[in-house]
């Protein structure tokens, strides 16, 4: 299978003004459904991701968020009838394989590889010589808060560090679209806040488009240009909420009236769906 989407140069863009509509659409999903046996995970999901955008996704547990990511990463085909466009070209999900950098819900670090070798896993498989890849990664370690840890093995790291290694692996695999599935899920509140600010810095510096799943409403608003709320299973987009808050965003933002009002809207939408999801799974 040839990959018609490979070798397209990385788009050059600015992330500084989210209020302005994105210059171009990077990914367009139309009517994406996915059925596993008799479980329908997604049903007619539509979404459009602009180049350079930071889009966060929230929704009740089991609503199909990870399934959506698996499709966008090219690991699963959606049911027939879905329309996927990447950089304006119609394609199958599998054409996206290798064109998207994907960080799954678990860090999935290889226990026999050191921090540095886990970080370079993807670029090493792309064909970069190991020495060159290591040198490149070594320079990035401080930025990811991992300086001095290059020779450690995953089982010697804290949960937060493991996730940073996984993030670094994702960043080194330079693709326009990054999928981050609850990357800060395992972190305590304090570390999480640090990592969020850090991620925004890195995102602005590296000019990537990010699709970010989270269960944390504050996190979704704090990071995103837009928040997508997914309905209870079968998942589709319930609400698309633009976050018109200025960047760079600081800690004080979380207590501003604009933030609170966005949060209220989101919580209402999520609670409605969570109730549905809860009732469906408990039978009440």
């Amino acid at each position: 299978m040839s990959l018609p989407l490979k070798n397209v140069p990385t788009a050059d863009h600015q992330n500084t003004s989210p209020q302005v509509a994105p210059a171009s659409t990077l990914l367009d999903l139309g009517g994406v459904s996915k059925t596993f046996g008799n479980v329908q995970a997604l049903s007619g999901l539509n979404a459009r991701i602009g180049t350079g955008e930071f889009v966060t996704v929230v929704g009740p547990s089991g609503c199909g968020k990870s399934t959506l990511f698996n499709i966008v990463a090219g690991l699963e085909e959606p049911d027939d009838g879905a329309g996927i466009q990447f950089r304006g070209q119609s394609c199958k999900a599998r054409d996206l394989l290798g064109n998207v950098s994907f960080m799954p819900q678990q860090d999935l670090l290889l226990p026999w590889r050191t921090v540095i070798d886990n970080a370079i896993l993807a670029i090493e498989m792309e064909g970069m010589p190991k020495a060159e890849a290591r040198a490149l990664a070594l320079k990035m370690l401080p930025e990811f808060g991992l300086a001095g840890f290059e020779k450690q093995y995953p089982n010697q790291l804290s949960g937060g560090m493991r996730q940073r290694v996984a993030l670094m692996r994702t960043f080194l695999f330079k693709r326009d679209l990054m999928l981050l599935d609850e990357p800060f899920g395992a972190l305590d509140a304090l570390t999480r806040t640090m990592m969020q600010r850090w991620l925004l810095d890195v995102w602005q510096k590296h000019n990537r488009t990010i699709l970010f799943i989270t269960h944390d409403v504050d996190e979704a608003i704090f990071l995103g240009d837009r928040v997508l709320v997914v309905t209870a299973r079968p998942g589709k987009i319930k609400l698309e909420l633009p976050v018109n808050l200025p960047r760079p965003r600081g800690a004080e933002l979380v207590t501003s009236p604009e933030f609170i009002s966005l949060k209220r809207t989101l919580l209402e939408a999520i609670e409605e769906e969570s109730m549905k999801s809860f009732q469906a799974t408990t039978g009440h």
Binding site: L75, G98, P111, W112, L121
Partner: protein
């Protein structure tokens, strides 16, 4: 890191082992002497030592000969076993066709099979190694296959999302995942290959630990028999210990998961 631990622990562990053997030897010596057991029933360790000292060349050359046969059979069994495991994991049809044959082959008693091998290869060193191989390749095949099938599908999906080829998947993910399982089989195979070599020697030869065992049995030479048994134990234990050490160095991440 655990691998350095394993290495720094080694002298101590070895010392403890030697100490244990020495204590058992002393108790043995004392018991046989105190209970006045005749040496044709149960000889004393000192008698075995002097038997070896009387004809050291026979024991040394026998030891080396059996060692070489064992190592060749083991190496061939390990390589073929790992290769089979990889092939079977990639080609399900092949596995379904060939695997039952392997199982049947393993139900044949090694003695019956040994006669066949000797007719084919004669009383050569190769014949002994073939028997050692025959006992070795099957557990390695099975464990390699089981280990390769234990790969986490999510890890596999992650590597696919990086555009991994089948070869990269095998080298970077599947084989390292299977390594702990493979080493379990290799440890087992280290013992089995020695059994194979000694059984092979019983079909006729002039040098080897198996030959010494057989000669001692025919001559009802209890001291010689025990000396040969202990020489085999030394060979088997050393080989097994070496495999366990290599395992601890290679599979360092398993110990503190």
């Amino acid at each position: 890191m655990t691998s350095t631990h394993a290495l720094s622990d080694l002298p101590r562990a070895a010392l403890r082992g030697v100490l244990g053997v020495a204590i058992v030897g002393l108790i043995w010596e004392a018991l046989v002497w105190a209970l006045n057991v005749p040496s044709h029933t149960m000889p004393r360790p000192s008698q075995m030592a002097s038997a070896v000292a009387a004809t050291p060349d026979a024991y040394l050359s026998g030891f080396l000969r059996t060692l070489v046969e064992t190592l060749i059979g083991f190496a061939a069994g390990a390589i073929v076993g790992i290769g089979n495991g990889v092939l079977f994991s990639k080609f399900t049809r092949l596995r379904q066709m060939v695997f039952p044959l392997f199982v049947v082959s393993q139900t044949i008693p090694v003695i019956a099979f040994g006669a066949l091998v000797v007719l084919w290869f004669g009383n050569t060193m190769l014949a002994k190694s073939v028997i050692a191989f025959y006992l070795t390749f099957f557990p390695v095949t099975v464990n390699t296959l089981v280990g390769l099938q234990a790969v986490n599908p999510k890890q596999e999906a992650l590597l696919r999302s990086f555009g991994a080829s089948r070869w990269q998947m095998l080298i970077r993910l599947q084989l390292p995942t299977a390594l702990p399982q493979i080493f379990v089989a290799l440890r087992l195979a280290s013992t089995l290959s020695l059994v194979g070599a000694i059984v092979g020697e019983w079909f006729g030869d002039t040098t080897g630990l198996g030959v010494l065992l057989l000669q001692a049995m025919y001559n009802e030479n209890m001291v010689g028999l025990w000396a040969a048994i202990l020489a085999s134990a030394l060979l088997g234990t050393t080989f097994y210990g070496l495999m366990a050490l290599i395992e601890r160095t290679c599979v360092f991440w398993r110990n503190d998961l």
